[in-house]
Every structure is written in C-alpha cells, then in structure tokens.
C-alpha cells in the first residue's frame, strides 16, 4: 500500500510553515536546469506553479485541454479573493482568516494547511498587484475590499465581477513570459490520459494531442496536477463545459488516494434552470449578497409579481434565522435554507424552485446617500431609486447584464430569481502538507486537491488557495522531493512503463469506437447528473445513496455497451474527449455516493437528512467522523477507505453557529 502520512511539521502552529520553509532542502541553480517538471492544467494553480517553477530555473512542460492557457475555468470566478491584510482596520489577522476558514469548513480541514494558507494570503495580493492586475481601488489610490459570506470583516479584494479573470490573466502573463523565454514548453489542446509510474514514482504522462489525435509520451521528474474540480459530475453546474476529473481520476487509479469525494459545494445564488435544454448554470456572485436581500413570500404558492407583494408579506428567511450573519451566512447554510423554503412550498417563478434576491432596499439606501452628496434634501422615492441604480450599476453592472441576457428580465426593475447549483468540489486528490499525493512525485494543487476547505469552502477562498499553492507553497515543498532526484536521468520514452501506459490509453479509445452504440455521450452524462443531483445533491440519505450506487452501476454497464462516439481517433473529435471524461465521471459518481453513505453525519456541504438538529442545522459527529476519508482504488471500480484523523489543537471545535 502507498504511504499515507500527512507530514505535518512539528512545532507551534504559527511556526510550522516558517520553520519548514527555511529548513527545506534546496536544489542548486545548476541542478535545477536539468530537472523537468510536468504541470497539467493552466488555471490559477497550474499557471502560477508553472511560471514560478520556471522562474526558479526548472524545465517546465505545461498542458491544457483548452486552446489557450488563458481560458482555464478560474477565469470565470467573479466575486473576489480573500487576504488577511487588515487594510480596513476591522480587526482582521492571519489567525482570524485561519479561524473563519476552519469554522466555515465545519471543522473538517487540516489546521496546519489552513494556517499556511492564511499566512501566504497577503503575499498573493502583493504579487498580483506587482504583475499589473487591476484590482479595485478607492479614490485615495489604495485597494478596496468587500465582504463575503461566513466572515465579519472586509478582507475580499476584487476587480468588479471579474476577479478570477484578472488574477488568471496575471498568472497567464507570467506563464507566457516564461514561454517566451523558452523556459516553459506549452502544450495547448492536449489532454492528459495517463500518469506514468516507474518504481513507485510519477515519472511522466501520456497526453493526447486533441487536434491530431496522436498519443504522446512526456517524461518529468515530477508531475503536478492543477486540473480543477469535478462539479461536472452533476452535468449541470457552474463549471465550464470542458471541466473534468480525468487527470485526477487517472492519477487515482494509479495509486493516488481520493480525499472526501462527497464534499460538494452547492452555491446558493445561481440563475435557476429554465428547461431541459439547459447545458450549464450561471452563477450570480456571492458579492451580490452584500447588497441583495433574500426572501420568499410568506404565503404558499403566492403567484403575485414580486413587486406587488408588500413588505410585511415577505419572509427574509436568512435574516430571520441567522440575525448575526443575515444574508452573509456561508454558502452551505444559505443553499439549504433556500431548498427548505422551496420544498415547503414557498418557492417562486414558474418552476417554484427559486427565491428572490432583491436589491431594492439597498438601491434606495445608496440613492439617499447620493442625494445627500448632491445636496438634494428630502429626495422622493423615484429620485433615490434613480441615483441608487447608478451605484448598483457601478458595483455589479456586468452581473446584472448577464442576468438580463439569460433570463430576459431586468434585475434593476424586478428582484433576481436564484436557486442553488453545483459550484465547487472541496474533495479531491488527497495530499500531504507538501501537496504530494500518495504517489511519490505526483502533486495536486488548487481545486484538484482536497486540502484546505474542509466540508465547505468560504467565498473568495478558491482563488486564494489556487494561487497560494502555485506561487507560494509548491515552489518550496517540491524541493524536498527533487533534491533527492538529482541523480535521476531523463527516462527514455521507450521504457516499458511508457509503452504500457500509452497502450492502456489507446485501449480505452479503441473500445469507444468498437461499441457503435445508439446513444450520445451527453445522454449518459445527463442521466448521471440527474442521479447525482437527486441522490447525492444538497440533501442525502442512506436509502437514496444506496439506490444511487445501484443506478450508477447500471448506467456504467449501459454506457459501455451503448454509447456512440462518432468520427475517428486520429482527428479533432470533441465527442471522443467527452466520452473519456464521462466514463471517468461515472466511476467517480459511484465513489461520491459511497463516501456520502459512509459519513454518518452532516457537515458543511454534506447534509445527511438523518443527522440534523431540531432546527434543521447540520449535526456533526466529531467522535466518529473527525477524519479525512481517503479512498484507495483497489481495481475494477472498487475502493478501500483509509482515515486521516483530524486533530484540532488550536481551535475549539464547536457547533457552527451563524445566529
């Protein structure tokens, strides 16, 4: 069995990272030049790692399935990035960011990792600003902040509703600079299909050139996966159409344990599904909850227009249930509360699966402030709304436009209709403190790993983690491994392990074309998504999960006997790409249900209906489940559970309360 040790450094929490970093073995500049590193994925984690490692002198090969590294899905992150800068003088600190993140994750994350994340958070902002990332500023020329869920300080840095885009373009620029200098070799439109393991260590990958269809062998002294999350297992999610689990799943099948697969984040503020044709869901940034109030009618099946429902007939249920945090409770709490209201019959819109996100109160408030600024005394309602709309437009204009485009409704006039949707996966490849998986030399970064968010991720923390891993963690921790690899010469590509890995990737492709079935890949993907959403979605129970597992196993059989993949293997063939990804999603879906079934408690995004408080809040079982579930692949879609016990030495574990 692979080694299974979190390698958390000894010593005080606040000293662990500093001490480790200064005692980490180094690789001298001359040796770095002869060490090759493969990076799969070019999002925030992958691009920042590839650029930084190349700056340090390593030879880097970077792969992405998109036509350009700039299109990785990090680009779609809207709201912001957290950092413990305390620029707002509101009592923020590294400890507070650490505490909020552990609590937000419902006490299911590793203390040491999260503290390190909080420590380097400030460096990320410095680095990005130095790169020319245009973060929002105040008139004084200094950086602006806003609030996000699960915190009571303003520590979120942002660039309108396009923070992910700006941060990714910063990392992309840094990466392109290294490409231009010849220090990174970039492979766009390439998809990793196998990890090559030699003598127990990751030594390379098999990648398919998506244009020619050719399978290529690539050697690396180490392989880094920054390949993102697996939310698309649900078919409908806020992920990009191409986001997939394939790289991580192939690594899993080669010995990398998969951590907490059932921890899925359902984001509370997405545009509701409008019909069967729907191919993806669009997020409305959490930042909107700064100024939007969430409500449903007090009366069941109230079909009046939102604006016709008087104030005293509205139920601002988040403010009612959670007065301390109100509309800014963490995502899991907000999502469950929306589901609860809709299930109880208070939902709005045609599908009744939606709640209102209303900007009227704050538009009027902003309008009043503007009127004051312009010396308009006792402004009437219309004036306030007109002036307030300008302020709202400045803050969220692009999001409002996006909403109007999709729904055909004007959110300046009517409240938005929103409903929870799959957004992010906290689970991922299990990694130790150094971000190494259970396969030596194979690392996982960003959303692809499981490490920092526990059972629920706080808003504006994904960008922080992706960049922390890539810019500030892996460049140090990889030295510990590579310093022992100096004697390893590049392994010839005709080594039996490369030949075997390529043959196994080829066999899967051949199998797809041999089936000649009757149903498209999307048909199976949609079916899988429906099972996952119903049985392993926002609320789960034992019976449903058992049914889900059986249905997925049946679906897997059907897929492998009836899928139709058109075209050929030696050409640009997106249907073939999708087939490979959906095959992996089907296997992962089964593991997610198993993990959810195993975890007889509710925590964060994992809500088991059997385990809730009288008030309907998640009921954890710290005595029996304060562990990371790390699953080992034992062949033929079977898995074995290993447990990494979580020790809380610096934070008192308590029931999470946002009341």
């Amino acid at each position: 069995m692979a080694e299974f040790n979190a390698h958390i450094p000894e010593g005080e929490l606040t000293e662990k990272w500093t001490k480790l970093r200064s005692s980490m073995p180094l690789v001298n500049p001359a040796n770095k030049r002869s060490i090759e590193i493969i990076v799969v994925g070019s999002g925030l984690a992958g691009a920042s790692a590839a650029a930084t490692l190349a700056e340090m002198g390593y030879k880097v090969k970077c792969f992405c399935f998109q036509d350009s590294p700039r299109r990785a899905h990090s680009i779609a992150a809207q709201g912001g990035i957290n950092a413990a800068k305390n620029y707002q003088n509101d009592g923020d600190s590294v400890y507070r960011l650490f505490y909020d993140t552990i609590k937000g994750g419902d006490y299911r994350a590793r203390e040491a990792n999260v503290h390190r994340l909080a420590e380097v958070s400030a460096n990320i902002i410095d680095q990005c600003v130095a790169q020319g990332v245009p973060l929002a500023r105040e008139y004084g020329g200094l950086l602006d902040n806003r609030s996000f869920g699960g915190t009571q300080v303003q520590r979120t840095f942002y660039a309108a509703g396009q923070t992910g885009q700006q941060l990714l373009l910063g990392a992309y620029s840094a990466l392109e600079r290294q490409i231009g200098m010849g220090k990174v070799e970039m492979f766009t439109r390439h998809e990793m299909l196998e990890v090559v393991v030699i003598d127990g260590k990751a030594r390379g990958i098999i990648a398919r050139n998506l244009i020619t269809g050719e399978l290529e062998r690539h050697f690396g002294h180490a392989v880094l996966l920054g390949s993102g999350g697996y939310g698309n297992v649900f078919y409908l999610s806020t992920n990009a159409m191409g986001s997939n689990v394939t790289a991580a799943w192939k690594a899993h099948k080669k010995g990398a344990f998969f951590g907490n697969p059932c921890y899925t984040q359902i984001h509370p503020t997405c545009i509701p599904v409008s019909g069967d044709h729907q191919s993806k869901l669009t997020l409305m940034s959490e930042s909107l909850r700064n100024d939007g109030r969430i409500w449903v009618p007090k009366k069941k099946d109230d079909n009046r227009k939102a604006t016709d429902i008087p104030e005293d007939e509205r139920d601002y249920y988040l403010e009612r249930r959670y007065p301390a945090f109100g509309n800014l409770v963490p995502r899991d709490v907000a999502s469950r509360a929306a589901k609860e209201r809709c299930d109880a019959g208070y939902g709005v819109g045609a599908s009744k699966l939606a709640v209102y996100l209303d900007f009227k109160a704050n538009t009027e408030r902003y309008g009043r402030i503007e009127a004051n600024k312009h010396n308009i005394h006792n402004p009437d309602y219309e004036t306030c709304m007109r002036l307030g709309r300008e302020v709202i437009k400045e803050k969220y204009g692009n999001l409002f436009d996006m909403y109007k485009q999709i729904t055909g409704e004007d959110p300046y006039e009517l409240p938005m209709r929103i409903y929870p949707a799959v957004h992010y996966t906290m689970g991922g490849l299990w990694v130790d403190y150094n971000l190494m998986t259970t396969v030596p030399g194979l690392y996982a970064l960003g959303e692809a790993n499981f490490s920092d968010h526990g059972a629920n991720r706080l808003g504006a923390s994904a960008l922080m983690q992706g960049l922390a891993d890539g810019y500030f963690v892996i460049p140090y921790t990889i030295g510990a491994y590579l310093s022992k690899e100096l004697a390893t010469k590049p392994i010839p590509l005709d080594h039996p392990a490369f030949i075997e890995a390529e043959a196994s990737a080829q066999a899967i492709i051949d199998k797809f074309f041999a089936i000649k079935g009757t149903k498209s890949v999307d048909y199976f993907h949609k079916k899988l998504g429906k099972i996952m959403w119903e049985k392993c979605g926002m609320a789960r129970n034992e019976q449903g999960l058992k049914e889900g597992i059986a249905e997925i196993q049946q679906l897997r059989k059907e897929f492998w006997s009836d899928v139709r993949v058109p075209g050929a293997a030696d050409e640009f063939n997106p249907e073939l790409e999708k087939a490979g990804r959906v095959a992996d999603f089907i296997e992962l879906g089964e593991l997610m249900c198993m993990d959810a079934l195993n975890r007889n408690e509710s925590c964060g995004g994992h809500f088991r209906e059997e385990y809730q408080t009288e008030e309907g809040e998640a009921l954890r079982d710290d005595e029996n489940y304060a562990y990371v579930a790390a699953w080992e692949y034992t062949g033929d879609v079977t898995f074995a559970l290993h447990k990494e016990e979580l020790k809380f030495e610096n934070i008192k574990v308590a029931q999470r309360s946002y009341k």
Binding site: I75, V129, R137, L143, E176, R177, M241, S279, T282
Partner: protein, 256 residues
C-alpha cells in the same frame, strides 16, 4: 427534448481539417425554444446529427457565460451574432424569429487557420502576449500592495482595457484582419499602471513586431473592432498604442 416552437434553417461552415476546403451546409431545425442559448441550439443539432450517424459540428466553447473567450461564431455576418456587448454563448434564441435562416461561419483570418468546422487556431494571440504582454516580476519580488497608490480613474481605465477576453472577434470583423484592438488592450492596461512603466517602450515594440510576424493586417481605423467587441474595448487603446509605438522610436536604446 426541445420544448419550443421555432423552426430554423441553418447554413453552417463544414470543413474537415486545415488542409481541406470547406463549404456551407444546410440544416433544418424545429421545436427550438426561445429560452435556449445559441450554443444550446447547436447542442440540439449535434444530438440529432449523432443519432443519424452523422458527424456533429465542431465549435469552440467552454465557460458558456461570456468570460473565457472560447466561443467564436460568425453569425449572419457578425462575430458573436446580432446583439452588442455579448459573446456567442450569451446569445439566446429569443433574438431570432421563427422561420429565420441563420448563417454560421468560423472566424476568418490568415492568422487564425481553421482547425475543423467552426474551430480556428488562435494561438497567435498567445505568442503576441509571450512577446511582451507582461510585467517582468518574479514571484516573491513584490512589495506591499498598498505601497504604490494608483489613482482610481487610472486603475479603472486599466481595468477596462484588461477586460479583453481574447476571443478574436476584433480580428474576425476587421476587413484587414487586424489584431490591433487585442494587442493595444494589453499594452494600454500595462502602460496606464506605474508597474508597467519600466518596460513600456520595449513592450510596445516587441508586441507589435510579433503581431506583424503572425500575419495580422494593419489598422485603417474603420472601428468595426470596437463595435463588435463583446467587452466594449475602446478604440482609444489603439491610439494609445500608436502613440507609445511612435514614442519608442525617439527613446534611446538604453531606455528600452
């Protein structure tokens, strides 16, 4: 699976690969819902083609929310279709009428060769960025982010230029297939920030040289790029780039 009542005729560019010639092929689609996005309409078409044993239409797309810049359809003679300020994936069928004929072509430019059907190769853009679209700061070099105040107006203007998604609509719509709007957006973003000053003139020279080497055409100020840009990138950026390019000629070699 469709639930609507729109009937459409599509004329779609089909091309097997870079080496072969392509042509427009007609397809009939019925029961299209006005709530579908344009790409979801293509999903319906492809589903039908697959079930008939035909090859689906290949097109680039990914985020389907207007930010990744992957989608790139030339619809009825306009990049990203008839509406302003949006990408193809944000276009919805309610912008069309029952009975419409819709012509869909790929981006057409020498520097963007067709890979297959509606998919083109836009890696020329990456190479232009690699030539100088960055600030040379290694990880770990940075000072405190607030040690360098930047006036809000300037920061906002840099942000507006930085909003470019690299989709290539500007090139596709330009009769010269010029990439000046794309290139100038990056140059303009960095030229307006204090961090971008040390490399300002070197940057404009190397990026423009790479742009020319890629085979993009010249700018003749027709303004089509600005009109069709889904992110509203302003023509002023081109003026700023031209000023910097000219200034660079007068700056001594040591300063570049």
């Amino acid at each position: 699976m469709s639930t609507g009542n729109m009937n459409l005729t599509l004329k779609i560019w089909r091309q097997k690969n870079t080496k072969t010639n392509g042509k427009l092929v007609d397809y009939k689609l019925s029961e299209i819902s006005p709530d579908m996005s344009f790409l979801e309409m293509f999903d319906v078409l492809n589903e039908q083609l697959i079930s008939k044993g035909d090859e689906p239409v290949v097109f680039d797309h990914d985020c389907r929310e207007g930010i990744c810049g992957a989608c790139s359809m030339f619809i009825n003679g306009r990049p990203h279709g008839p509406k302003e300020g949006i990408t193809t994936c944000q276009l919805h069928m309610r912008s069309f009428k029952d009975g419409d004929t819709i012509v869909v072509e790929p981006w057409r430019a020498k520097a963007f060769p067709v890979i297959k059907d509606l998919t083109v190769d836009r890696t020329a853009f990456d190479r232009v960025i690699a030539a100088g679209g960055f600030i040379s700061v290694n990880t770990g070099n940075a000072q405190d982010a607030n040690s360098l105040p930047i006036p809000k107006v300037q920061a906002d203007s840099a942000f507006e230029a930085a909003a470019c998604i690299g989709c290539g609509a500007c090139v596709a719509t330009c009769k010269n297939a010029s990439a000046m709007l794309f290139v100038s957006a990056k140059i303009s973003q960095l030229a307006q920030l204090p961090q971008g000053q040390p490399e300002r003139y070197r940057r404009v020279q190397s990026m423009v040289a790479q742009m020319d080497a890629e085979g993009f055409g010249n700018c003749t100020n027709t303004g089509a790029c600005e009109a069709e840009c889904p992110k509203g990138i302003s023509l002023e950026n081109i003026a700023r780039m031209n000023r910097d390019f000219l200034s660079a000629k007068f700056v001594s070699e040591e300063d570049i």
